[in-house]
Symmetry: C2
């Protein structure tokens, strides 16, 4: 534990939450920080079934998306990259939990800034063409939405002007040719996401996540392949609930629980 | 009839096709040119119910979308802009048909290039801030898809590199502040459409048109408001058919026939 984490961190202030119907758990700050949930499960579901190779989870938080990939894909390895010392510490605690014993040998945590460049990036375990797949859960909520007094929550939710560009520059550098990426964002960010992806990735696939049929999308999933020249596709929507009901639709429930993919 | 049209045009080579369950008809070349159908009806459906004011139909062809707006919105006027002399002539013939007598007083045809600039554009009845709403059915099919020997069909389907930019420049000029636009395109064009729209229009609303539930979108509808700062929204999809059936779903049928809008 780093000094900074020691100061900020009270292990009694964490929760241990079960995901994938108990097939793995996550240690998270109980009251502060960005608590993981459906978004991370949706992002993880963008990694194809049967995926074999290395996944890098950029902005991993406590590790929800990366661990969800390890849980569904037994031949995947995952590097969890998180810049916030407390969240990175939670990710380490998550990997150390006995419930995650079956996943831990395939996971590691890197405490680093996703936007590092060049030698600094390579020095932080983010080597050129080093990964088969990148998953990104960037701090995507607009400053207009959330004005929270919690600085950590703010850092996790407020998107800077060049954030997608900075993150995609790293993705472009560290994913091997033919490798893929997936990101989750708000639909309103589409106009900055597409230019940030640029021409280094093709075969883009967009999928709206809609709370129920007939409602506008609240999230957008984007995937792509490095070096592909295939065209952009708008996939059918992923619908979470029946209108007026809290329960998830069977397909959404299967995705939330690592029983089917969205790839 | 212009000399050019007289030379090129054999009225015996046209068809008269009923739309909106016979509430209007369209004169179209039988075998050449871009024949109108569902795309034009989807585009017209993006004009809100009860719309009152002036619509400009850019790339009007024989006038399908513009006439569909006139048919559904009794307080709308429509300027049909078409650069191809034969298609513009078809649009004039359409307006002159007895079946369209109820619409003709609210329509007019302008034979002009949508990409004209400055004084040339203004001189072609496309004045600054002159319209309340623009609808665009640009020649959006990629050259890779259709290699047709029919030059007119090719002109209507093959999209040049700066086409969306050129068309949106005109839209920006001729739509009044607070006015709207709607366009129909292939989803794959999204990456060039969003930059072409730029910052002069906001409140963008995207809607995929899917052949059936679970299929990728084959068309994309985009609307926006000049000067709006509202965020981009990804609307629920518009689904045309039940899987494996030719018949349109009731909602799609209502849209095709001018009985409900997609706005």
């Amino acid at each position: 534990m780093t000094d900074r984490a020691t100061i900020a961190f009270d292990e009694a202030g964490t929760t241990v939450d079960a995901f994938h119907r108990g097939r793995f758990v996550l240690v998270q700050p109980a009251r502060s920080g960005h608590r993981s949930g459906i978004d991370a499960m949706l992002l993880a579901a963008c990694v194809p079934d049967g995926f074999s190779g290395s996944v890098v989870d950029l902005g991993a938080g406590a590790g929800a998306a990366g661990l969800a990939v390890l849980s569904r894909c037994p031949d995947a390895r995952a590097t969890l990259v998180e810049n916030d010392a407390l969240m990175a510490h939670c990710a380490r605690l998550s990997l150390a939990r006995p419930e995650n014993r079956h996943l831990a040998p395939r996971g590691c945590v890197v405490e680093a800034d996703v936007t590092l460049r060049g030698a600094a990036r390579r020095g932080a375990s983010l080597g050129d063409d080093a990964f088969d797949f990148a998953i990104l859960n960037p701090p995507f909520n607009d400053a207009r939405d959330r004005r929270t007094p919690d600085a950590r929550k703010a850092a996790a939710h407020v998107m800077g002007g060049t954030m997608f560009e900075d993150w995609m520059r790293t993705v472009t550098a560290i994913v091997r040719p033919g490798g893929g990426f997936a990101l989750i964002a708000r639909p309103e960010s589409l106009g900055v996401i597409l230019p940030a992806i640029g021409r280094r990735f093709g075969g883009l696939r967009l999928r709206g996540v809609h709370p129920h049929q007939g409602a506008a999308a609240t999230r957008l999933l984007v995937t792509g392949v490095k070096g592909s020249r295939a065209r952009l596709t708008l996939l059918p929507p992923h619908v979470l609930h029946e209108k007026g009901r809290d329960a998830f639709l069977p397909e959404a429930d299967a995705v939330n629980n690592g029983l089917s993919s969205l790839a």
